[in-house]
Amino acid sequence: MTLAPETTDLKVQLQLADGWFTVCDLNALLPGRGVAALLPDGRQVALFRDRAGTLYAIDNRDPFCGAAVLSRGLTGSHQGRPFVASPLLKQRFDLQSGQCLDDESVRVATYEVRAA
């Protein structure tokens, strides 16, 4: 596995158990579109940036189908709350809490994320 973070100004970093983990350049994140990142332990994270520049990170796996694709969903905001819709069966997930908005018994993990 090659983990190859590039070096430019601002970096996107995730809070993991052992500190901040650098993922990529901030400008690799297109507002309204996600990317996936691979963590050292094999987990996958979906990262998003909204129009205002706020960053979000949730688990990349779609809990309904199992495929690791949430980063490829379309994002949006509803009553000020940001969400992503799974590209498979279109369930929405709140980007701040990871809560599935179509099925209250389902939630995906969230990560603390910053640009530094």
Partner: protein, 868 residues
Amino acid sequence: MTATGANPTIVLVGHGMVGQRFLEALAERGLTATHRVVVLCEEPRPAYDRVALTSYFSGKTPEDLSMTDMEFIKDHGIELYVGDPAETIDREAKKVTARSGLVVDYDVLVLATGSYPFVPPVPNKDAEGCFVYRTIEDLLAIEEYAKAKATTGAVVGGGLLGLEAAGALKGLGLTSHIVEFAPRLMPVQVDEGGGAALLRTIEDMGLSVHTGVGTQEIITDESGAVTGMKLSDGSELATDMVVFSAGVRPRDQLARDCGLTVGERGGISVDEQCRTVSDPHVFAIGECALAADGRVYGLVAPGYEQAQTAAATIAADEAAFTGADLSTKLKLLGVDVASFGDAHGTTDDCLDVVYSDSRAGLYKKLVIGRDGTLLGGILVGDAEAYGTLRAFTGSVPPVAPEALVLPAGAGAPTQLGPSALPDDAIVCSCHNVSKGTIRGAVTDHQCTTVPEVKKCTKAGTGCGSCVKVLGQLVTAELEAGGVEVDKGLCGCFSQTREELYEIVLALRINTYQDLLDRYGRDGARGGDGCEICKPTVGSIIASLAPTIGASGYVLEGEQAALQDSNDHFLANLQKNGSYSVVPRIPGGEITPEGLIVIGEIARDFGLYTKITGGQRIDMFGARVEQLPLIWARLVDAGFESGHAYGKALRTVKSCVGQTWCRYGVQDSVRMAIDLELRYRGLRSPHKLKSAVSGCQRECAEAQSKDFGVIATANGWNLYVGGNGGATPRHADLLGKDLSDAELIRLIDRFLMFYIRTADRLERTSVWLDRIPGGLDHVRDVVVEDSLGICEELESLMAAHVSNYRDEWAETINDPEKLSRFVSFVNAPDTPDPVVGFIPERDQIKPDLPLLSIGMRPAEDVLEGSAQR
């Protein structure tokens, strides 16, 4: 009083529109259970929709026109003798004898023999090439003769039917003339002013109108075929065929022969119960009857009312037919013409309010009583208000009459909505349904859509002219009941997709954010939108890109963020996170080399291959980072994106056609390729599919496509609005015998009009059934150019065609875009470990168990929920 067996017998003579309605009324009253019902039908087919007869020329088949459900006939034990007319009636013995020799005893006899077309007694009126316009057989004969022997046709009679007939001749490709004895067209329905507006519009369509002249003689050649006609002003008109449409006369011969009383000018005299005045056992209904008010009604609505009256009387219920409204709304050759109530202002002391603009072909007149009561009116050129005005007839409308006829924009126009109508106003006059009944359907019967209300009340199922008002009433009623009828696209926009399209086009708005911030709902402005409006607006921007100054490349700038997930990767996401790849194979035609390239690529990348239902090849199981590599090779071999991922043109299927097939009459493969190349990449509200068949055998299944083309000996027939899928729909004929150029022009217009007005994810089939006016309206717009937008539609399409670029070729040449095709932003070379495959039938398939093995412990993520 039983004649035979246990049950009394009702014999119906004539199975036309009114006859059929009578049978339904019998069934509704339970009379078919207690009576033997025998029907003698003269025509070779059971009852059909004569009112819609002319739609045969726009593609309706005789089967489409049928009004007779054979299940209904069977279920009610009705004995229907098709092609067997009644010949004599013996009222003494109460027997009817049919042509076949069948003799039926009756207890009740109902005559519904309709009318026959009146042919003026001019010399040679029966010559070869002379026709009338009343039955399906008449139309078949006209069509055959027009195609084989005629280039010019003349219609005698400029009334309602004459104009329909002239329109049909024109539709058959003939130069058409209308000869009318009266000084204006449609003398019965419209007045002088209305006639002038109508004349102008009809002449503009290329029909020649000769008013104020009579037909004196039909001129024939030695073989006895028509070559022209001599007119009363001494002139001659060269024509290859003549259609007489000079009025109808009641078919009352049978009644005369058995001594029933008939009126001076024909028609079987009946009382208010529709019982003949001479014999209590005999009834007469429909166009053959002379009603108690002294009139013979030539319209279907009064006939229906008579049918119900007769059935009620037979059931010993109280009912009476005392007269009917002669309101009509027609779309003649694409021109709206309506008249209602006292259209000619015959009431004492009445006043007219007239608005007339003969340049625009508009004429509107209202007849108002002394006390302000609306008595009637005439509308030519724009009959939008007909439904509402007709329902207000007989009352004082709540706004000044002139406000009702002024065009929008002039003065202070008042849109008098149907909500202002009183409950007892008749909204559907075909089925005599009041506004109150329609409201009841919504409030008491829980109908929430127009189709449901139609089914529940029968309103709108006759001539269809009331459907618009019906829709408005249903919406108003739902809203009044607190059901919020929000027609907005989504939580971010209160506009429909069509409205957003108009805004984008008119204001040249070329970014989503701009549109959202300026036109979004209050809470949505400045936000991030949602997964519904982003792709929808993305698609609108892509359809209009060259015109509004946006990039035609869907991954450019902001547009990339709007695309549905599939469009974003220019491939179709599969259940395990892998993608499928579908190169375009125009018309399904592919060279051996092309097949080999696809085969090699699939082999080298280990992809699963399958021939699709759309005549092309799908390769499944590509990982996201493989897409650019696969496409680099495909592009290199000359392949382009097949847009299997987009709401865009998919495939144009073809059959092998004239080149190889012994039946083919045109080169269907070439046309399919041309069409596919022309419309490739066109973004639309939903996917678009097409097909071209080389002959009527239809091996390409064109009639199940959004636009389907079938070759004819003379060119191409264009069908639109077809659909496979869960709710299949047969396409409707939009144009006949078109040349290549005409075909393409018509498809250009049709597609652009669809893209402009359809809702999100609305296939052409659903759109055609939804939009007010349906196919007729679309035909008016794209064939007759009634909105004057065809030039714009064509130029929008031309812009699309000339700006098309293959988006995969563009993508593989752009390193910045390519950097997105990775599983992980921080590990571009690492494939997604969840995407795995196992073998099946010598190929791969997704390893589904791998998807759930990869699941992380429940307590970690899925708080308190079962793992799924």
